[in-house]
Amino acid sequence: MATPVLEVRNLTRDYVTSGGFLRPAKMVHAVKSVNFTLQKGKTLAVVGESGCGKSTLARMITLIDAPTAGEILIDGLKADAHHVTREMRQKVQIVFQNPYGSLNPRQKIGDVLGEPLLLNTDMKAPERRDKAMAMLTKVGLGPEHFNRYPHMFSGGQRQRIAIARALMLNPSFLVLDEPVSALDLSVQAQILNLLKDLQDEFGLTYVFISHDLSVVRYIADEVMVMYFGDVVEHGTRDAVFGNPQHEYTRTLFAATPNSSVESIKARLAKKAALVG
């Protein structure tokens, strides 16, 4: 088996709430000893509700925050969030949930895309420009957007730009932190399609953080369910969706609204019986 793109061993993150004077500081275990490996070209979805630690996990594997314990291996190399080398930095990129906060309001789109190249490569300005332009078309925008500022774009377009920026340095894998949950249904579909297209074309590897099971079912190869910092279930998509093992996973499935015609019929029948 090839070296996994990402390997995570016993990754743990504890927070100490600032207790202060009379109250003892409390330890919060945001992420408890998480393990997984991810092969190239695959998508791992991390599912859970707010406060389950999925975003903390995302920030750790993106080397934004340092873990309390555990190891992160990227392309078989150990990564240290305290001293991120330039090579390591280029291997991981992230796309955030809120398309309105993730772009610098005072930076033109061309500069947004060119910045990673400017800072990490010796490319000359025209070359950077060509690369950025190419990426812009790749994500479904046009050259006319190159010199515009973020506020001239819609949420979906901004998310495309954020994806383009993340891809500028050919990262080994991409962390997608709820990339579609702030978008309208129709735009969400476009972005999901785009992610799939890009994955097929470049063989990208995704860590997809989400709370939305229907989206996860659509995009994931592997699913990891988190609950209060613990991984309670981890398996292939079909295994998790077909035969959930953990109580919490089943609760999650049961809570997800079902829009199939059969379930509507069943609900209406129940209601009619109640009234009648």
Partner: protein
């Protein structure tokens, strides 16, 4: 006679770039004991019509309608004072952000008892007892203690329960829920939806559910209005809508649901040109 009947409603906002029609000639009617869902994406003006009914739109909004009647009473001709007798008692509304929708400076008990005092003239002991009873009704068991709590001491789900308790406190004939579960986690969302549906049936009130989520529509509605950019695209009972959508916008919306994915890619909305379904 429908409980609430609106004909040809138009709401325009005065913005810096000119007049913007958030709602353009929409008819809405809901019968008593009926659950109507108004569904649409952002910018479809789905909340605006109901905010107009409640009189909660800002001063920059101009509301015109051929008819806006509640139980046969003309809402358009009412003075604000007259309207305040109905609002909060016969028509109640809950909102998207439960924590922000409760006043952070007052206890839950105060805010709950305030409605009882205003519309039912209940004060003191009686109001307190009724408030505890209402909290129990919405699934808060330690109501007596919770009455002294401030909104920031409670979770989003708890706050939404309090909002619902406030809304049903005067046994309204119509409850309007504006994206009541959007800010909540999936499991909490399920609890709140179940609660709303249960209360609707038990109290025999009409419920208007405003949402962007087709799943929520499927789980709650009897009848559905689909809105797009301020215009009504389709109106149908829930089963017909999901089984046999008439408007191509509804079809696009349904096919964009990830669970309805056919093959490897999702059809996207921009692939269609939208028209209202015939007869709407």
């Amino acid at each position: 006679m429908p409980l609430l009947e609106i004909k040809n409603l138009t709401v325009a906002f005065d913005t810096s770039v000119g007049l913007f029609k958030a709602v353009d000639g929409i008819d809405v009617s809901v019968d008593s004991r009926e659950v109507l869902a108004i569904v649409g994406e952002s910018g479809s003006g789905k909340s605006v019509a109901m905010l107009a009914v409640m009189g909660l739109l800002p001063g920059t909004a101009t509301v015109t309608a051929d008819k806006m009647e509640f139980e046969g009473i003309d809402l358009l001709k009412m003075t604000p004072q007259e309207k305040r007798q109905i609002i909060g008692r016969d028509i109640a509304m809950i909102f998207q952000e439960p924590v922000a929708s409760l006043n952070p400076c007052f206890t839950v008990g105060f805010q709950l008892e305030e409605v009882l005092g205003k519309h039912l003239g209940m004060h003191g002991r009686a109001a307190r007892d009724r408030a505890i009873e209402l909290l129990k009704l919405v699934g808060i068991k330690d109501g007596a203690e919770r009455l002294g709590a401030y909104p920031h001491q409670m979770s989003g789900g708890q706050c939404q329960r309090v909002m619902i308790a406030m809304a049903i406190s005067c046994n309204p004939k119509l409850l309007i829920a504006d994206e009541p579960t959007t800010a909540l986690d999936v499991t909490i969302q399920k609890q709140i939806l179940d609660l709303l549906v249960r209360l609707q049936a038990e109290h025999g009130m009409a419920l208007i559910m405003i949402t962007h989520d087709m799943g929520v529509v499927a789980e709650t509605a009897d009848r559905v209005i689909v809105q797009y950019k301020g215009k009504k695209m389709e109106e149908a009972d829930v089963l017909t809508l999901f089984e046999n959508p008439k408007s191509n916008y509804t079809r696009a919306l349904l096919s964009a649901l990830p669970e309805n994915a056919v093959g490897d890619r999702l059809p996207t909305v921009s692939d269609f040109v939208f028209e209202a379904a015939p007869g709407v």
